[in-house]
């Protein structure tokens, strides 16, 4: 046989030797040494989450928009709830027995081993009373965290709010646990990762009565929470506050941008709501109320409301015409009211006058020329191309103004509006079954074309910059850093050559000096603007005005929409003018104009319709 067969015993002895060592060790730690059992007795350790303080939000001048206030949540670990006097606890917490049972059930559904919120935001009295008697209620303890507070009650839609995470979020993102808060809407949502910080955990040793005996191993395994970073917003809280004041009792929005950077100075939507309504125990009730409000205060009109732009679109049309070489500043066209209606003004007009007086037939003819004779069609002028080619060429220019799709502002729910495509018309009318006469209203910013107020303000910024824009954004910096995110510093160019802008700026100045928006005139500041009327098939038209100022060193570009208030020169223009004055001068020199705006109420039906000096419908 094999001479080394006996060596098998070396193996068997080795196995037995190791097994004996293991059994000896196990016998010692499982049976003799009781310290392990003590340190693992069922309730010995309690993990108390140390919530980081959420970052604060400041405006561009360092004024607080959002801060924190402590709140006390009652937590429960269902498995540890043993032998408690339920009735006593219900009385202490001022809840009914049914509530108690449903809440326990809910907590158990989440997990019977992990802590979940039993009752949110205890009042100070209940918190104090419970703390004294906590030892009688094993399984219950109090967790301190912070609630959001809004000192100025402004910018609710831009800032957003925080609410408890839902189950879907918990499933998708392993960071969140039941009872955690998460930013919803606005900056709170977009910069959640920066604002929330990082949870820490404190481990306590508790006795069988659920009383804290001390910290576990002197805090060796505790982790400190990392506080969230503060966020500095580009908003100017004084301008935002003033805008919200001017828009009271009106439906609509204001968007103001600093053209040189794309920083959003104000983002007003009206009606809005008090952000403090969405905090604490009252949050869900108030949220339901806001959600069912017929005026929809949760709807951020500045980003989400789509309007046909009306006459303000003529400035885009004018630039496209110049670029396509169907227009020059010397072009003169008659106001031919048989083509499309217009109002009374001198005729014929040159391009400059057409902007100043917003002549509809003028742009009717310009659009026709663009469709059939534009240089970008690369067709010999006069021969003409198909309507489809013409529309495609026109659309390429238009979308370079940031229209037709979302701009990409750094808060959620932005809408992109709509610039119709030839595919769309082919679907509606059939290929080659439509032409200029089907779609001519695009030429004066009506028909299928839709844009949102932020895009209006952005077009204004493009004119102010003479041909480019930066993505509008609400973040100015976070933490210690005043850093700007790289994609907000990319200069977006339009397809229009820069030299076409200057004469347009002059024309827009005349709109305010002696055209359709003389109500926006401001002493010592040259404002350039354009009025518009967004057609509303459901009622009175919407008043629209865009403007920037000062003319040569633009610091603010603004769009104002006042729904159901008719012509843009009447309401939107003075509001924009007051906003510009507030931002540039910080004082208002025209109290009577301000009062005229503040007193107007487009929401509540008037007892007697007083005739405000309604001007002729010029637009």
């Amino acid at each position: 046989m094999n001479p080394f067969a006996d060596r098998r015993y070396v193996f068997l002895i080795l196995f037995a030797f190791v097994a004996m060592i293991f059994l000896g060790r196990l016998f010692y730690i499982q049976i003799i040494d009781r310290s392990y059992r003590i340190s693992a007795s069922n309730n010995v350790l309690r993990y108390v989450t140390a919530y980081p303080s959420r970052g604060l939000i400041y405006d561009r001048n360092g004024e607080l928009l959002v801060y924190n206030q402590p709140a006390y949540d009652l937590m429960v670990i269902p498995r540890q709830v043993k032998n408690i006097d339920t009735a006593d606890l219900c009385t202490l917490l001022a809840i009914s027995k049914e509530e108690f049972i449903s809440k326990i059930k809910e907590a158990r559904k989440y997990s019977s081993l992990k802590a979940s919120v039993f009752l949110k935001q205890l009042s100070a009295e209940i918190y104090g009373a419970f703390l004294e008697r906590m030892y009688q209620f094993p399984g219950f303890f109090v967790q301190v965290r912070t609630m959001r507070k809004y000192p100025k009650n402004i910018a609710a839609n831009a800032v957003g709010y925080i609410s408890e995470v839902d189950e879907n979020t918990i499933k998708k993102n392993s960071y969140y646990r039941s009872g955690d808060y998460i930013g919803m809407g606005g900056l709170e949502q977009s910069y959640e990762d920066i604002l929330r910080g990082k949870r820490g955990v404190k481990i306590f040793v508790v006795d069988v009565h659920n009383r804290i005996v001390g910290s576990y191993l002197n805090g060796l395994y505790d982790t400190l929470p990392v506080p969230g970073l503060n966020v500095v917003s580009t908003l100017s809280s004084s301008l935002q506050e003033y805008g919200e004041k001017l828009m009271q009792n009106k439906i609509g929005s204001i968007a103001a941008i600093e053209p040189a950077t794309g920083e959003v100075l104000a983002l007003v939507t009206s009606p809005t709501y008090d952000p403090n309504l969405l905090v604490g125990r009252v949050r869900s009730a108030n949220y339901k109320k806001l959600l069912t409000d017929s005026l929809n205060p949760l709807f951020n009109r500045a980003l989400m409301a789509m309007y046909p732009p009306g006459s303000i679109f003529k400035i885009v049309e004018c630039l496209v015409g110049l670029q396509d070489e169907v227009l020059t500043w010397n072009t003169v066209l008659p106001c031919n009211k048989s083509l499309v209606n217009c109002h009374n003004h001198p005729s014929p007009l040159d391009l400059d006058g057409s902007v100043q007086h917003s002549c509809n037939p003028f742009y009717y003819m310009v659009f026709k020329k663009i469709l059939y004779g534009g240089a970008t069609l690369e067709l010999a002028k006069g021969e003409g191309g198909t309507s489809e080619q013409g529309l495609n060429a026109w659309r390429r220019h238009v979308i370079s103004f940031g229209l037709g799709s979302r701009l990409g502002i750094d808060i959620p729910n932005e809408k992109g509006g709509y610039i119709p495509t030839s595919i769309y018309y082919n679907k509606v009318y059939g290929k080659n079954r439509w032409n200029f006469y089907t779609i001519y209203s695009l030429g004066i910013g009506q028909g299928e074309i839709m844009i949102v107020p932020l895009q209006m303000a952005n077009i204004t910024a493009i004119i102010a910059n003479r041909g480019f824009y930066y993505l509008p954004h609400l973040i100015k910096g976070f933490g210690e850093h005043k850093m700007v995110l790289p994609h907000f510093t990319v200069r977006n160019l339009t397809t229009i050559n820069p030299e076409h802008f200057e004469p347009l700026v002059d024309a827009m100045e005349k709109v305010v000096q002696s055209g359709t928006a003389t109500r926006a005139k401001l002493k010592d500041v040259s404002i350039c603007g354009k009025t518009g009327t967004a057609q509303n098939p459901h009622g009175e038209d919407h008043s629209v005005f865009i403007a920037f100022a000062p003319k040569d060193t633009p610091q603010i570009a603004i769009s104002v929409v006042v729904e159901n208030s008719g012509f843009g020169g009447t309401w939107a223009a003075p509001i924009a003018s007051l906003m510009i004055e507030k931002y540039l001068n910080d004082t208002i020199s025209r109290p009577e104009l301000e009062k005229y705006i503040l007193d107007e109420d487009f929401i509540h039906p008037k007892a007697e319709k007083k005739e405000v000096n309604k001007p002729e419908r010029v637009d």
Partner: protein, 420 residues
């Protein structure tokens, strides 16, 4: 020759039953380790235990396949299998998915495959094939060098990932050489080197060399008449000193700080610092709190709070210790020792040298896993991430061990037909 009673007819059912018991016991404990009330079903595929069910079923299919294939196939192609596995080990370093700092996994759709788990049986096959060769004699240096190379190549490739734990396993195959007739001098030298290794870590190198020098001088004085003995003693002293120096150098300059800490904690030269001693401390609390009879199935509290990391893979024994107590631990250890002893017994009854060597390889690899993994959870061995065979969660490891064991069961079932 006994009549052929189907592929399992001649199989050793004791090994198969031990295998089945270990696999099911493991599955129960993975369920207990991961269990929470939200995901109650043991077949829930989103959880580790649900996936383990899948691995177990596919493992059975693999075992059946191993048994069905003609044994001549295994005798013919060991080097080919070995070569393919080595290529896979190289490929994983290049194409693998990096997880926790090492590239040990291929990612195929939602699944991950760890080639190092399959390198074990391939190396065992190759080693058995080589050593059972007609003209191979263990005393020859050529044999020693070739066997060492077969054993050393896969771990060297695994070190590239890097995965030191999986690489260390191969050292257990040196035991097989001992069984096949390697002089016991090597065994004692091995033990001496390991002792020296530990001493070098524990004590100052100069003191250690001084003490050795003192013994050497006494030896020289004692054997001063034999020139040969003096030379051997001087040579041994020189080699030992070199080893002490290189251990000291490797420890301080080559090992990563966390590896250094693990060794220091284990040797007791460093206090439980946060993070390093944490796992072992929590593991000890979990096992220790189990007491004599344990807390009962699913009643454990320590492993469920994520106290113990890797609780369903490397630290699965914590759950056994906590929920089944000393009795459950005794049973687990008993099952392993029974399986190992059975393998040795079966290996010795083989007529074929190939089958016997393969059997010893299987026993050595399983033993190393068993000893290091269990020792680690009890604070007796350093925390190196290797699974407890058949019990730990993981598709690759379960498949690898299943193939490893069932190849041996296959060889045994046809022992009357294999001649060499």
């Amino acid at each position: 020759m006994r009549p052929n009673r189907g592929i399992f007819g001649n199989a050793d059912w004791i090994m198969i039953w031990l295998y089945l018991v270990l696999v099911f016991f493991g599955w129960m404990n993975i369920y207990a380790a991961v269990y929470n009330e939200d995901h109650g079903s043991i077949f829930d595929i989103s959880q580790n235990y649900g996936k383990q069910a899948l691995w177990i079923v596919t493992g059975f299919i693999l075992a059946l396949t191993v048994m069905l294939i003609d044994f001549r196939f295994y005798l013919t192609f060991p080097y080919l299998v070995y070569g393919i596995v080595c290529l896979l080990l190289i490929a994983v370093v290049i194409f693998g998915k990096e997880i926790a700092g090492s590239k040990s996994w291929f990612e195929i759709g939602p699944f991950r495959l760890q080639p190092s788990e399959f390198a074990k049986f391939a190396t065992c096959l190759a080693l058995a094939k080589y050593l059972s060769g007609l003209r191979v004699k263990i005393e020859e240096n050529r044999t020693k060098i070739t066997s060492s190379a077969i054993i050393a190549i896969p771990p060297l490739l695994i070190l590239l990932q890097p995965d030191a734990g999986s690489a260390l396993i191969y050292s257990s195959l040196l035991l097989v050489l001992y069984r096949e007739g390697l002089s016991s001098r090597y065994l004692w030298t091995g033990v001496f080197i390991i002792m020296l290794f530990l001493l070098a870590l524990l004590f100052n190198k100069f003191i250690l060399i001084g003490v050795l020098g003192f013994f050497a001088l006494s030896g020289i004085f004692f054997f001063r008449r034999s020139r040969q003995s003096v030379v051997v003693i001087l040579l041994a002293l020189a080699i030992s000193s070199g080893l002490i120096y290189s251990v000291d150098y490797a420890f301080n300059n080559i090992l990563e700080p966390h590896q250094r800490s693990r060794i220091n904690v284990l040797l007791g030269t460093e206090r439980d610092i946060k993070g390093v001693g944490y796992n072992v401390n929590q593991s000890l609390i979990a096992i220790g709190s189990g007491g004599f009879t344990g807390k009962g199935f699913l009643q454990g509290t320590q492993t469920k709070y994520d106290f113990v990391p890797e609780q369903s893979t490397d630290f699965i024994f914590c759950t056994i210790g906590e929920e089944w107590g000393f009795l459950g631990s005794l049973l687990t250890i008993g099952l392993f020792v029974a399986l190992l002893a059975r393998i040795i017994f079966i290996a010795e009854r083989q007529r074929s040298k190939f089958s016997r060597i393969y059997g010893y390889c299987v026993a050595s690899v399983l033993f190393f896993h068993f000893a290091v993994n269990m020792g680690m959870t009890m604070g007796l061995a350093p925390v190196i991430g290797i699974p407890l065979p058949f019990i730990s969660y993981g598709g690759s490891s379960l498949w690898g061990f299943t193939i490893l064991l069932f190849l041996f069961i296959k060889f045994d079932s046809v022992r009357l037909e294999i001649l060499r």
